[in-house]
Symmetry: C2
Subunit: 508 residues, 2 copies
């Protein structure tokens, strides 16, 4: 629309964060301007001009007023009652690229970069980001596109240059109780490799690695603090959320969560972007495989592993993948404090076999990739380091340098005091542990916010149990949450005993 004659509106601040660059107009003004909800307008005050999405109200703003949401004020600092000009904006190129992808056409570098950049600047609506993610899910992406998506996420985020060679490990997630990082990082650092582990807090699970580590030591640091930690101790376990390594990723996850999707290209780009951003030269990827995990069968796991390796080659990162057992929780505990305790016990020489095998095999892969041992001998070295107490000593250093108490003993860790035991209803073998039920119980009990909440598994698959033997114990910090968790457990049985009657079908 030619300038000089645009409709004028009086600003009214609207104190809501929408996560989008939005304004709100009176319904009748919108009709006059032929605008519909989610359409875009240019809003202009003196020399500042921004594009915003349109919301409509028939009462919050009067005719002639425009509501300016909080999200827009940083970039468009206007005061209440100031006059701004509004005109219809054209569709931004990134929206056209999303439409192109929706129609099945692969995108090129600049197009993907434009989508990622406009996601970060909140210039795309949630519906448009959802459309992009759904197109990734249904149309898929070529390896070229995944590479460009990864690079765009890195380029729009922060890069940490440690000034030396670093390695990393990552799990694609999906299995409860996966506290292996608390063993792998000290084992790997003990051998002299530098391993700067940033991890997430739980989004949909009862405990993220950052939640678990936080039981032992603080996990929030500045980039400068992390650089010093790595230099001084050789490894750390920190929360990556505040580092701004991949801000686009957080916004994509924010949309994936309510849609309950996890498009493969996005997942790969998200993981590899964070590794590229810290300059990792070699990483080992844990791919838990099994019923209820993200990958359900070996063939898919192998395919995913090979895709990660190819993506790594394109990005200059050596990748090895470990396909691990994902049918039931790793170790015997789920929930921040319970998992921290179990990891500490394992470092002190008293860990469950499943946890030790998994941790040392993944750590061993990093040794082999970096020439610390020949191929085939990595795990043996990792076990030696663990058994010798060197890994425990390194973990004490890590805890101390991160600001925790290195003398902490497993029994010092405070667990939830409200507890409930679920016993075996009959003699028999445990034939199934239900990951999603265990997750739901631990979350209902309060994990990860209540650090002491979670689930202890006294028996796992294949264990013989007698009637009334304890199988699972729920830990909570309040009676109310314990009760919630019990209700979930009753609705969604966390385990099955072979020979148990699953359902009775009868007319009588």
């Amino acid at each position: 629309m030619p300038s000089g004659n645009m409709p004028n509106f009086k600003v009214k601040h609207i104190d809501i964060k929408t996560g989008q660059k939005s304004i709100i107009m009176n319904e009748l003004d919108a009709v006059d301007m032929m605008l519909r909800i989610h359409d875009r307008v240019k809003i202009k005050k003196d020399l500042i001009k921004v594009v915003a999405l349109v919301d409509v109200s028939d009462s919050l703003v009067m005719r002639g007023e425009v509501g300016v949401y909080e999200d827009l004020l940083d970039e468009f600092p206007v005061k209440n009652d100031e006059i701004v000009e509004i005109s219809v904006a054209s569709i931004p190129p990134s929206v056209e690229y999303i439409r192109k992808k929706m129609k099945g056409t692969p995108l090129i570098k600049g197009e993907i970069y434009s989508i990622v950049k406009d996601t970060i600047s909140h210039s795309l609506s949630e519906l448009e980001i959802a459309a992009f993610l759904m197109a990734e899910e249904y149309v898929g992406m070529t390896m070229d596109e995944v590479e460009q998506l990864t690079r765009a996420i890195v380029e729009t985020g922060r890069i940490i240059d440690f000034g030396e060679t670093v390695v990393d490990k990552h799990s694609i997630g999906g299995v409860p109780g996966n506290k292996v990082s608390l063993l792998i990082i000290p084992i790997v650092a003990s051998a002299g490799l530098k391993i700067p582990k940033t991890s997430s807090r739980a989004i949909t699970s009862p405990s993220g690695t950052a939640d678990t580590m936080e039981v032992l030591a603080p996990v929030e640091f500045t980039v400068d603090e992390l650089r010093k930690l790595l230099q001084d101790v050789g490894g750390y376990i920190a929360w990556g959320g505040s580092l701004n390594l991949a801000p686009a990723d957080d916004l994509f996850i924010h949309i994936e969560h309510p849609l309950n999707i996890d498009p493969r290209p996005q997942m790969m780009a998200s993981i590899m972007a964070k590794k590229l951003a810290v300059g990792a030269s070699a990483i080992v990827l844990d791919i838990p495989t099994g019923k209820g995990a993200k990958v359900e069968d070996f063939e898919s796991a192998r395919k995913l592993g090979n895709d990660f390796i190819e993506l790594g080659n394109r990005l200059g990162i050596k990748v090895r993948c470990g396909i691990t057992y994902g049918n039931q929780p790793v170790g015997h505990t789920v929930g921040p404090a319970l998992e921290a305790k179990e990891a500490l016990q394992a470092l002190m020489g008293k860990g469950p076999n499943s946890l030790i095998e998994k941790s040392t095999s993944l750590a061993g892969m990093l040794f082999e990739m970096n020439g610390i041992t020949p191929k085939g001998s990595g795990q043996a070295l990792a076990k030696d380091i663990l058994r010798s107490g060197k890994a425990y000593q390194k973990m004490r250093d890590i805890i101390a340098y991160q600001g925790g108490n290195p003398d902490i003993k497993p029994d010092d860790i405070r667990l939830g005091e409200k507890r409930f035991i679920i016993s075996a209803p009959a003699d028999g073998y445990i034939s199934q542990i239900n990951n999603s039920s265990i997750n739901a119980i631990a979350k209902a009990a309060g994990a990860p916010i209540n650090k002491g909440a979670g689930v202890m598994l006294y028996a796992k698959m294949g264990y013989a149990v007698k009637q009334d033997d304890p199988v699972i114990e729920i830990y909570a910090e309040s009676e109310q949450k314990l009760k919630c968790a019990q209700i979930i457990a009753a609705r969604k049985p966390p385990f099955l005993i072979e020979g148990m009657l699953l359902e009775e079908v009868s007319q009588f």
Copy 2:
């Protein structure tokens, strides 16, 4: 969560319509309750309990307050400062069904009904509805599913029983200037068939049938008024928007528009639901086919036609489809007043051939389907009715009964007075008319809100023109909009002349 111990919140009215059942919580309260944006809560006051989606603010509501949006107040009438209880809600079944569809599993009757019902009750978030529509787009639907979707849209809307046999016509849209209904309805009604035509206002086009008819007579009526109109005149052309025939459809369109998708199953269900709701026994469907139309080639048009016929069989509606020419506008005008004028001229004996051929062939199909003529003779009867002036007389009755002036002459129709002619830059033949450019120009000029705005085509495909001959004239009601339309026309040429230099590639 067990009741009796739920957190209490103080109500604060938030005067915004979100189109979703939403509340807004303080960020810290949400964290405490482990709630993320778009999660669901149960909100309870005395005996009234509703489920709502969570929005988050760090300033609009204080800790302990809950903002209740306008959309929720009808169903959950609470006053400011009243105390309500809030607890985490489980995911509604319709969300699970959407996830099932996203994974590629066909849905059964009850599942589709549940999604449509929860869409209407605003219990699904925009993202969830978007996910359903994207799954339709990418996964597709079986004919069983399309049938159930159609029935669910009808069952959740209003049904009009006219107490007698009625017929109908519909265009799937996509071609500008398609004012054929203004000829078909009076032609068909002249032969004694009852044809209650409800139509839409333009959503993305410069003029819907309702917008065009409104130039000649009012188009908004109650159901009782429509019943009387049909009884008295045998036909009408009304706006369907306020009749609540398919409220779900409006909500789906509201999401399809910003996503720029039009999933085939949804389009079929949307059209057929409105026909089923008025009890149509036979319908003729216009499928404009060609570059820039919704269907680009004959094979796809035939496939779509056969799908409509099968869906009709399942619903007890006889369907015939006319594949029509969609490469350029129908007739010579685009925009409400220009189109109304052209339709009136055609009824009075002076219409362009493309408009008359198309209208009479579609009307003739309805004659043949209803035994008014034998197969092969329908169009001849339609032309007779048009030429004899009977259709014009019937249109005068329709205009009069709808409350317009039956004596209106084509020249009485007020056209936009700001005009701009685009002339042929060279001698030659018109080799292409660009539908999407014509649409964009007419909309920029102000159509359909400004009834007098639009585009007149002096030449169409194949016409020989001399340099400086007028090809297109833009009509607008303000200089500003005329200027906008000119800018669009310069960017996106509305026509090509054969032999015109498309682009010069040169080093000099």
